[in-house]
């Protein structure tokens, strides 16, 4: 029992990171009708900026994070304004390919700007909290709790805004049909730009959390991005909450497989955990292409 708790608590940071990245990808998917393959590297870029602020300017992480967020937002908005808005008549596949091209650009740009060496990174708060369950130690880092709190606040705020603010209504209208939304007097340009900016900010936040527990690298967010895409179709892009819920499920399921493998006495199975989780996700998607929370639509010929 204590072991299970430890496993679950150890998954907090990956869950938060995945959820934030998924939110970012979902928002862009809904407003720009494309999957942003560059989300991972934009986030990584933000993390590099945060690292530079930490190491070169000797700022604390709480000051470095906003700097990274601002830079990432600027880049994301620039991508929307300079590239996506001009490629409005590029078809859906073309848009995806543009985001793939962006990956190469940013992957090339990061070493040019920040140098080749892996940057040092810091967690939000050092320290651990331990308590006893059934006579056994359960440990959780303070950092994980802080991440969870931040994620909870940020996601709640975004959901509230989507549901109750005028901006949220506009986003939902744009997501439903950009053309009609534009005719109804919604400035879709501003909406998509804000969405991209928000995605950049969420990505940087996620990357900063991830930087505390993993080594920062150009591709260090790519795995989370893949998880986020899967979460997106697993939960169904039709809603905002579906992908986020699925995003919490994927890292959790992954660690649970590891847990089960150890409990059953077959620790060698634990290296297969991602294979099993992805496989399960694909099977679910195959039988429910519209996602767990999606609705089936009738296709007209």
């Amino acid at each position: 029992m204590a072991y299970l708790l430890n496993v679950i608590l150890g998954t907090i940071v990956p869950m938060c990171v995945t959820a934030l990245v998924t939110m970012a990808i979902t928002i862009i998917f809904k407003t720009s009708s494309t999957t942003n393959f560059a989300q991972g590297v934009i986030s990584a870029f933000g993390a590099y900026v945060v690292a530079a602020a930490l190491n070169k300017l000797n700022l604390s992480i709480w000051l470095a994070l906003p700097i990274g967020v601002v830079v990432a937002v600027a880049i994301a908005v620039a991508i929307d304004v300079l590239i996506f808005r001009r490629g409005r008549y590029v078809n859906a596949l073309g848009k995806q390919i543009i985001t793939m091209g962006l990956i190469s650009i940013i992957v090339g740009a990061i070493p040019l700007i920040f140098g080749m060496q892996t940057p040092q990174f810091r967690v939000f708060v050092e320290g651990k909290v331990s308590f006893m369950v059934g006579g056994q130690d359960v440990t959780v880092t303070v950092n994980a709790l802080v991440c969870l709190a931040i994620t909870a606040v940020v996601l709640t705020a975004i959901f509230m805004m989507l549901q109750f603010s005028k901006w949220g209504l506009s986003v939902r209208a744009t997501a439903a049909n950009e053309y009609v939304a534009g005719m109804l007097g919604i400035n879709t340009h501003v909406i998509t730009a804000i969405s991209w900016g928000l995605a950049g900010a969420l990505g940087t936040l996620a990357a900063t959390m991830n930087g505390g527990i993993n080594q920062v690298g150009v591709y260090f967010m790519t795995g989370y991005q893949v998880n986020a895409f899967l979460a997106g179709i697993l939960g169904g892009f039709a809603t905002f909450y579906g992908p986020v819920i699925a995003a919490f499920m994927i890292p959790l399921a992954n660690n649970l497989v590891v847990y089960l493998a150890n409990v059953m006495g077959k620790p060698e199975l634990s290296s297969w955990s991602l294979v099993i989780v992805y496989g399960l996700a694909l099977v679910i998607i195959f039988f429910k292409p519209e996602g767990i929370f999606g609705k089936r639509t009738v296709k007209k010929v």
Binding site: I98, G101, V107, G108, I110
Partner: protein
């Protein structure tokens, strides 16, 4: 000059054949696109030989071998995307099958290359069929993500099974082929694959695929089974990717699954996609050229420039910019560019003719 004799003395109505001059013969050969591939192959074999014997820079042959090996995957992807209108990000994962088949069948079990080929291709066909069936239910962006997921599954599977693989010595038909000679094998295979693909593209199958890409409803009404041609497209693409992985293994001889910029990482799938985009969706030559830009340019030419040698990422950076620009402003890619230049040249030739001789 036996026209007179034939006209007056031939008994069985034979029409004399015009004797063709050498230029006519050459023109006839150049008019048949299949000969272009053969010509290309011959030239590349000669260049490879000169490079292996160090008449040309020695690094050229490995750069060529790598480019051509990746080109196999690009040509398959060109067929999938440009002709069937399907997209996939599973290329990297599928290439891994070829690599691992070589490792397990040849290095570990010590069996000949043919066995590895059969094993790899069978797995490739099965995987292609699976993705094809999936593509009947899930389309567009979702399919792309799903194949991405499949590729990640494969990559994690590789990591779980064995991270680092290698090929110590490669024998084909009893002849040991050193690394520097792998360029011949790869070139021959690429030329064969290009010719087969070209034939398919101009055949009823190619037309059926195009019809399917333009409108699934119209294609079905014309008797084209979506299932058959989608499965076929994915099987071909997967098989080519598997072959590409095998050729890479023969060329480079070792691979690491955990390497984030390795053969079967996401970045390979993206690069192959970018190569096909830069080259032009529906052109085999374009796919090979695009692959050259993505993979060959650096090793073969740009590494000679000291600045780029120190900053290899610049190539990644520039190729990214190229992809974005091509999609936004030049959706036809290099193939379209070549087409337009050719049209322009023709127009200019016509104009010069008119200048000299007046209008017809």
């Amino acid at each position: 000059m036996d026209k007179y004799l034939y006209e007056n003395y031939a008994l069985f109505g034979t029409v004399p054949k015009e004797k063709r001059s050498l230029t006519d013969l050459a023109r006839g050969v150049l008019a048949n696109p299949l000969y272009h591939y053969l010509l290309f192959g011959a030239v590349m074999l000669v260049v490879g030989f000169l490079s292996a014997t160090k008449v040309l820079p020695y690094s050229l042959q490995s750069g060529m071998a790598i480019t051509f090996a990746y080109s196999l995957a690009s040509v398959g992807f060109c067929l999938l995307m440009g002709y069937s209108g399907l997209a996939s990000l599973g290329t990297g994962g599928f290439m891994g099958i070829g690599c691992y088949a070589i490792h397990f069948v040849m290095t570990e079990a010590g069996l000949p290359f043919g066995v590895a080929l059969v094993v790899a291709l069978s797995i490739g066909v099965v995987l292609g069929l699976i993705v094809g069936v999936v593509s009947l239910r899930i389309e567009g962006i979702y399919l792309v993500i799903l194949t991405l997921g499949l590729s990640e599954i494969l990559r994690n599977l590789y990591i779980a099974v064995q991270d680092s693989i290698y090929l110590s010595s490669f024998k084909l038909l009893g002849i040991t082929i050193p690394r520097s000679a792998s360029v011949y094998v790869v070139t021959v295979l690429l030329v064969v694959i290009m010719m087969l693909t070209h034939n398919l593209i101009v055949s009823p199958t190619g037309r059926a695929m195009l019809a399917m890409k333009n409108s699934t409803a119209a294609a079905q009404a014309m008797g084209i089974s979506l299932m058959k041609y989608r499965l076929l497209a994915f099987v071909i693409c997967t098989v080519y990717a598997v072959l590409s992985g095998m050729m890479l293994m023969i060329t480079i001889r070792s691979a690491m699954a955990t390497d984030a910029s390795g053969f079967y990482a996401l970045i390979t799938s993206l690069n192959i996609l970018a190569a096909v985009i830069i080259g032009g969706f529906r052109s085999i030559w374009g796919a090979v050229f695009g692959t050259f830009i993505m993979y060959g340019l650096q090793t073969m030419l740009l590494n000679r420039i000291p600045f780029l040698q120190e900053n290899p990422v610049i190539i990644t950076f520039v190729s990214g910019i190229l992809v974005v620009l091509v999609v936004m402003f030049y959706p036809g890619g290099v193939a379209q560019l070549v087409q337009e230049v050719r049209m322009k040249l023709r127009k200019r030739r016509m104009a010069r003719r008119e200048e000299k001789y007046g209008k017809d």
